[in-house]
């Protein structure tokens, strides 16, 4: 629990540092926020269908959602609040029914009312998409049986089984509430059009360059938003973004800037720049291909994790790379995460690295894999992939392993993973809302979770997961999570969890009201942002 507390304390400390200023100041109205989206323009405007954060950063201000992470406390992993509903419901029917009452008077930007039929249609578009409609996150809602709209202000979710994974899944920021009429007309209407009920109204899209929004005067959260409007400019190159923040061509970008660049900006701008930091619900993992010898041998896989000095190596690595916190497979801010004491019992997290490496050498010798040479397939992206890959190679060299890194651009890197064309693969698990039961799906065998390419079957692991998913008692669920974690990254070492990423947002100090969260997908509706100019 101490690790969780420490990570949480760090985040809270940073938030508290900014808090007095935020608390003491009365938000000012007006102004247009210019910010950058550090990506290519998103393929479509449809949050239900796209995977990239670029869609969220461009379109979240236009939409409402049913529930969300608390915008006043977005770094919390358990604090959810209503957006269009009146209050978070207590589940009934043994935890299998959630009844939401909707606020009165919510209007879409075209003036039409938002009703439970719209909410139902939107959620069905995500969970039960019509044939030919893409919904990549359907598996987050495997517990949902059906959705009902008994009257215009009531929405009922009926679940197949009670699970604590439901509410966090419901708070996913990409679950925009669309208009039923438009979805009925064309289920893909929202790919090319924007019509929501959020704090800002859509003004224009400049192809490949920018998105513009203007204040919604009829927004149902009275008094919000503070801004008159916003302009989001696509800027993919990091060097451009750093220069643009420095010259105040844009107030910020909301994904994250590496430590060295943050320092550079701070040195140039001093008090004119504010930096907010948080643990990031993204992390690096390594998957050995179980069908490639000698990685079919758990002793070899275990030796790989035992060789890595996470406690000693991550602090210096964090000075140059977007990484920070050592943790297990559950995000460190979550109550389900392992404490430092619990981690110390897992291979690769032992406090004594010499003992750990001695064990790694013994296992390699026993498996006949001393001095093993292999290739690490990595993504050709600097932060933090290449940094983490380079560090791992150095760590493995300390037990006599000779590793070469093959970096591939995104398409070929994902293709190599899918074809299991690798010996050892360095990947990332990146999630929006912290929902440990859903976030760890990726460690399940490929037959259960299609995006696991490590080529193994493990019925014991699957049974353990199912039990945990259906468990509603927190204490028992946490114990099961420890068992699952130990099984996945120690006993069987199907994967090696390396390190959690760290998110640093540098923004012009005049931009206020925005609070960092554990994901670049969260808290992007800009309703509470204001300009102190």
């Amino acid at each position: 629990m101490k690790a969780v507390l420490r990570a949480g304390t760090a985040v809270i400390a940073i938030m508290l540092a900014a808090a007095p200023a935020i608390a003491a100041e009365t938000p000012k109205r007006g102004g247009t926020l210019t910010y950058m989206i550090p990506a290519d323009s998103s393929p479509s405007f449809d949050g239900h269908r796209e995977g990239t954060f670029a869609t969220v950063h461009a379109t979240a201000p236009f939409y409402s959602v049913l529930i969300r992470v608390d915008p006043e406390n977005p770094s919390s992993t358990t604090d959810f609040v209503c957006d269009v509903c009146t209050e978070l419901p207590k589940p009934t029917n043994e935890g299998r029914t959630y009844t939401f009452k909707l606020r009165d008077g919510i209007k879409y930007h075209d003036g039409s009312p938002l009703t439970s039929a719209d909410v139902k249609a939107s959620w069905e578009h995500i969970i039960f998409p019509p044939a030919g409609v893409l919904s990549p996150r359907q598996s987050y809602y495997l517990m949902v049986d059906r959705i009902e709209a008994p009257d215009p202000t009531t929405v009922v979710f009926r679940l197949k089984f009670a699970t604590s994974a439901f509410l966090p899944a419901l708070a996913d920021p990409r679950t925009y509430l669309y208009q039923k009429a438009n979805l009925d007309k064309d289920p893909r209407w929202y790919e090319k059009n924007i019509l929501g009920s959020g704090p800002f109204k859509f003004v224009s899209y400049e192809t490949g360059q920018a998105v513009n929004g203007v204040r919604n005067p009829d927004y149902y959260h009275k008094g919000l938003p503070y801004l008159d409007g916003f302009r989001a400019i696509y800027a993919e190159k990091q060097v451009t973004r750093i220069d643009a923040i420095r010259a105040d061509r844009a107030a910020t970008e909301f994904r994250g800037i590496p430590p060295a660049s943050r320092d550079e900006l701070k040195a140039a701008l001093g008090d004119k720049l504010t930096v907010q930091l948080s643990d990031w619900n993204c992390g690096s993992f390594v998957e050995p291909n179980h069908k490639r010898k000698p990685f079919d041998d758990p002793r070899v896989r275990r030796a790989l994790t035992l060789a890595i000095d996470r406690w000693g190596g991550v602090p210096p690595l964090s000075k140059v790379a977007d990484v920070h916190t050592v943790g297990g497979i559950v995000f460190p801010g979550s109550p389900l995460a392992a404490t430092k004491e619990e981690l110390h019992k897992i291979a690769g997290f032992w406090p004594d690295i010499e003992k750990s490496r001695a064990e790694a050498r013994r296992l390699l010798k026993e498996a006949g894999a001393e001095g093993l040479s292999f290739e690490l397939v990595n993504r050709a992206v600097d932060q933090p992939y290449k940094y983490v890959g380079t560090w791992l190679i150095d760590e493995w060299s300390k037990v006599g392993l000779k590793v070469k890194m093959r970096t591939l651009s995104t398409g070929p890197w994902l293709a190599a993973a899918r074809a299991s064309d690798f010996e050892v693969f360095l990947g990332a698990n990146c999630q929006a809302v912290t929902n440990p039961l859903m976030d760890i799906q990726r460690y399940l065998p490929g037959s259960v979770y299609a995006a696991n390419y490590a080529q193994f079957e493990d019925p014991k692991q699957v049974a353990l997961y199912d039990k945990m998913l259906h468990e509603t008692d927190f204490t028992r669920q946490r114990a099961l999570m420890r068992e699952f974690e130990k099984h996945v990254i120690d006993t069987e070492t199907h994967a090696l969890w390396i390190v959690w990423w760290y998110r640093g947002i540098a923004h012009q100090s005049y931009m206020k009201g925005w609070k960092i969260s554990s994901s670049h997908f969260l808290n992007q509706d800009l309703a509470r942002v204001w300009l102190d100019k």
């Binding site: 995977g51 360059q209 060097v239 220069d243 061509r249």
Partner: protein, 323 residues
């Protein structure tokens, strides 16, 4: 002359078909596809069903032969299809970005001409003097320095200098505004990239001007002009420079064609939403239709520029069309 023109024009078609075939095959030889990039690029997970739906939606689950026939049939009808990434017509995607790339290309060309021709001529006239040495050093530096690095440095220098002077760092805007909407803002966007590209461009043209001038200055007709007592200025302007311009014009034409799709990194450094940046993104995203269309667009410009240069040569030099 007409036979020559017809022959050259007809040669354009096999060149375009060859390029189309090559780009079609090359794009598909790269492992992965646009659906993987789209669904998994952000590090989030996705279902196999989502991937299959995406493949079917875009049509890349069909056999290559059918996709190729579609592509060629589209080309024949001048229908380049829709971008697989944005779903919008590729013609629209390119047309949106074309004005800024064209503007930078024209500005860079003007800078290049303004720098290269006078300096190249002076360098030739002052051969082996310190002036010649200085111009050649300037020119070699331009060739050896990558434009994107120069671009990064230019922005940093502007930021540092403006911060030192006024306390507020300044850099050009990062979002494009057309010239007719806001001329000052437009020019401040175009200025730095045009200078950095124009410098490299000028370096190439400058060397060509110098060597062509040196060659012409040794010609018999120049000696004759001098012997008959013509003023030096007249000899250079009327007899030497005009004749030396033929290869220089060729270089300028070819470089201009290159700029129309070749500013891939420079456009990224300055965050210019141009054709070069679109090319990078379309390749990164493995957007087959857009990449194919962009390559065909650039190939067409290059082929057309070459055609014009060839025709110009034939018009200027009868030996070429008679050969």
């Amino acid at each position: 002359m007409y036979r020559y023109i017809i022959k050259r024009v007809l040669l354009v078609f096999p060149t375009l078909i060859g390029a189309a075939t090559l780009v079609f095959i090359m794009m598909r030889l790269i492992p992965g596809d646009i659906c993987l990039v789209r669904l998994g690029g952000g590090g989030t997970s996705f279902t196999a069903q989502a991937l299959a739906t995406c493949h079917a939606e875009i049509g890349i689950n069909r056999p290559w032969v059918l996709q190729f026939l579609d592509f060629m049939w589209g080309l024949a009808r001048l229908d380049l299809g829709n971008s697989m990434w944005s779903g919008k017509p590729v013609v629209m995607e390119i047309a949106t970005r074309f004005p800024i790339s064209l503007e930078i290309a024209i500005a860079a060309t003007l800078i290049s001409i303004a720098v290269a021709i006078p300096l190249g001529t002076i360098s030739a006239l002052k051969q082996n003097t310190w002036i010649d040495l200085a111009v050649r050093t300037f020119s070699i530096a331009g060739l050896a320095t990558p434009s994107f690095w120069l671009g990064i440095m230019a922005i940093l220098i502007v930021l540092d200098v403006t911060q030192a002077i006024s306390g507020n760092p300044w850099m050009p805007p990062i979002d494009y505004v057309p010239l007719w909407q806001d001329p000052i803002r437009n020019l401040s966007i175009v200025m730095l990239p045009a200078l950095t590209i124009g410098y490299r461009y000028a370096a190439v043209s400058m060397r060509m001007t110098r060597s062509a001038m040196l060659e012409v200055l040794r010609e018999d007709y120049i000696r004759t002009a001098r012997a008959k007592g013509l003023v030096r200025k007249l000899i250079i302007n009327r007899h030497a420079l005009k004749n030396a311009m033929l290869p220089v014009v060729t270089v300028i034409g070819i470089e201009f064609a290159f700029l129309m799709g070749g500013l891939v990194v420079t456009e990224q450094v300055f965050n210019i939403n141009g054709v070069g940046r679109l090319m990078v993104l379309s390749v990164q995203n493995q957007d087959y239709t857009l990449t194919q269309a962009l390559v065909m667009f650039v190939v067409t410009i290059v082929v057309m520029c070459n055609l014009v240069v060839d025709l110009l040569y034939a018009w200027l030099d009868p030996r070429i069309r008679l050969a």
